[in-house]
């Protein structure tokens, strides 16, 4: 400080010599301790430090009359100061400042600037004029609890959300290379354009880490396609919700669960990616239960429903390869699915009898007399995978046997006085009462996904909704950085 003060005395009538401190109280102490007379400017808001990209204090900056930086040096260096003085004497023609250089060490390193502390830097970046953030800022008063405020504003799914502060949103935006203002699609029911920034805000609320953003974005792009028909999935009185299945290397990169309890709680990536997608539909699209979401019963998956495939655990092609992607690519597949329903076969020791079990169970999905069904997802656990693998059956073989086992004669499926549901009598006559019909429109309607813990001869199906162009179709999308 004495060197700056000396510069002020020597050159202050020919140029501005300012000290800028990052702490108002500390500044005051310095003024008293060193009996400073030069202007000591307060930058406790750190905006100047951020604007000049200061990462070390002290930093000495020489600027011209337009405020343009000519040179800087950081920390304390006696030769730096001596050189600076020589330069200023040249320019100003003022006499040299009176300094006893023997009082000073040759050099001393500086400390980190407050403006580069991670949390503070993120806030400053968010506040800077070139910040990528465009969303409306909402000030929540001191006396308000921000968590309660977000409930009151109807912004949550019923569980607390992480407050989407500008610094958190900026951090999450760092997880994607996409422009924050790029529009990812139009969210029903309000047909609102969804920017990457709005996706990031809702991802923060859901609890996502930055590295989940590429998955969140791909999942959102997938549900906002005409094929997936998010409007219908939301508005129906039926059960569906977007089920997000992740494949490829990103599963491990972001630590997703595809093993024990795969459809349950406990993994941050699985839990928050699915939740982010739900919150976007709620907050950006305006899709709220009891309003355009007309579900009669709903299901817990409407909080979040996302998991990854255990690709390494079977010899089968993983889901994304079946759907035309490369094994080394990462993808999301979205499916309008119901809650998982578990079923058991602990005694089958070969692929055929196991497929027969699957067929008998799946024949009853929705209603035992509902046939000509569309898409369904079946999660196959490792122990069942082993049973199938013993016989070397492909997915296609296993699916075909499931279909075979669902077959029933039309006469058992026709509407009657005991069970009103089923095939109308006229249609049944046309089909022929003894004709055997399979449950699903085609084998390909049955999607098999491997996941789960090593122990337990179980599987789970996720029932579909109205399948195909009249309703919703499964959509797979590549995950890009």
């Amino acid at each position: 400080m004495p060197l700056i003060e000396a510069a002020h005395h020597a050159f202050g009538d020919r140029m501005d010599v300012w000290a800028i401190g990052q702490d108002a109280e500390g500044n005051q102490r310095l003024v008293e301790q060193h009996k400073l007379t030069l202007p000591m400017l307060d930058d406790s808001a750190l905006h100047t430090s951020f604007a000049y990209d200061i990462d070390t204090v002290p930093t000495v900056i020489l600027a011209n009359e337009h405020g343009e930086e000519l040179e800087r040096f950081v920390g304390f260096g006696k030769p730096d100061w001596q050189e600076l003085y020589r330069r200023l004497i040249d320019v100003t023609r003022a006499p040299a400042p009176v300094v006893d250089w023997g009082d000073y060490p040759e050099s001393r390193p500086g400390c980190g600037s407050k403006s580069v502390e991670p949390d503070i830097y993120a806030r400053l970046a968010a506040e800077a004029s070139d910040s990528p953030i465009r969303a409306r800022r909402i000030e929540v008063g001191e006396s308000d609890d921000v968590f309660e405020f977000m409930f009151e504003q109807g912004l949550t799914d019923g569980l607390p959300v992480v407050p989407p502060t500008p610094e958190r949103v900026l951090r999450v935006l760092e997880g994607t290379k996409r422009d924050p203002q790029e529009v990812l699609g139009v969210v029903p029911p309000n047909l609102a354009p969804l920017t990457v920034e709005k996706a990031a805000i809702n991802a923060v609320m859901a609890g996502c880490r930055p590295e989940y953003m590429p998955v969140v974005i791909a999942a959102l792009e997938a549900i906002l396609t005409d094929e997936f028909n998010m409007h219908g999935v939301l508005a129906t009185t039926h059960f569906p919700t977007p089920v997000i299945i992740v494949n490829g290397p990103i599963r491990d990169r972001i630590g997703m669960n595809y093993r024990m309890n795969v459809l349950g709680q406990g993994n941050r990536a699985n839990a928050t990616i699915g939740r982010a997608v739900q919150l976007v539909v709620r907050n950006v699209g305006g899709g709220r239960p009891g309003e355009v979401d007309r579900a009669a019963l709903g299901q817990p998956g409407k909080y979040t429903f996302c998991f990854a495939e255990f690709e390494e655990r079977s010899n089968w092609e993983p889901l994304h390869v079946e759907r035309g992607f490369k094994k080394e690519e990462s993808t999301v597949t979205v499916f309008a699915g119901g809650a998982p329903t578990g079923f058991v076969d602990q005694l089958a020791r070969d692929a055929r009898t196991l497929a027969n079990s699957y067929g008998k169970v799946l024949a009853a999905v929705s209603h035992p007399k509902h046939y000509n069904a569309g898409e369904i997802v079946v999660v196959v656990s490792p122990e069942h995978v082993d049973t199938i693998a013993k016989d070397g059956w492909s997915k296609a073989q296993f699916r075909a046997q499931i279909q075979e086992a669902t077959k029933r004669p039309v006469r058992e499926l026709v509407q009657d006085s005991e069970l009103a549901e089923g095939i109308p009598p006229a249609a049944a006559e046309k089909l022929g009462l003894d004709t055997l019909v399979p449950k699903f429109r085609s084998d390909e309607m049955i999607t098999l996904v491997v996941a789960g813990g090593e122990a337990g001869k179980f599987a789970a199906y996720l029932q579909g909704w109205v399948s195909g162009p009249m309703g919703s179709s499964m959509v797979t999308r590549k995950i890009e950085d």
Binding site: R136, R137, E139, V140, H231, A235, L279, N283, S472
Partner: protein, 92 residues
Amino acid sequence: MTTILDPTDERVPVRRALTARPESISGTVALLDISKPRGDVLIARLEEQLRERLPGVTFKHYAKPTFTKPAPEDLRRKIAEECGFVIEALAD
């Protein structure tokens, strides 16, 4: 004070006045079936009843391609051009 970013679409809905309701029904009435099962049965019965009560009125039938999606823009425009009234019906 905490600053949070608005997670919604930030759009203020435009308030629109309802079109004035006429005293009587005349001209053409659209009967829009949303394509749910048995919607056609309900619409047919409605038309039968309305024809008795409104002998001078013409009825025109329209249907959404699927109940799972909003009515296409073209269909909405066609109904607005051709009819003064619309009855939308669903059934199951």
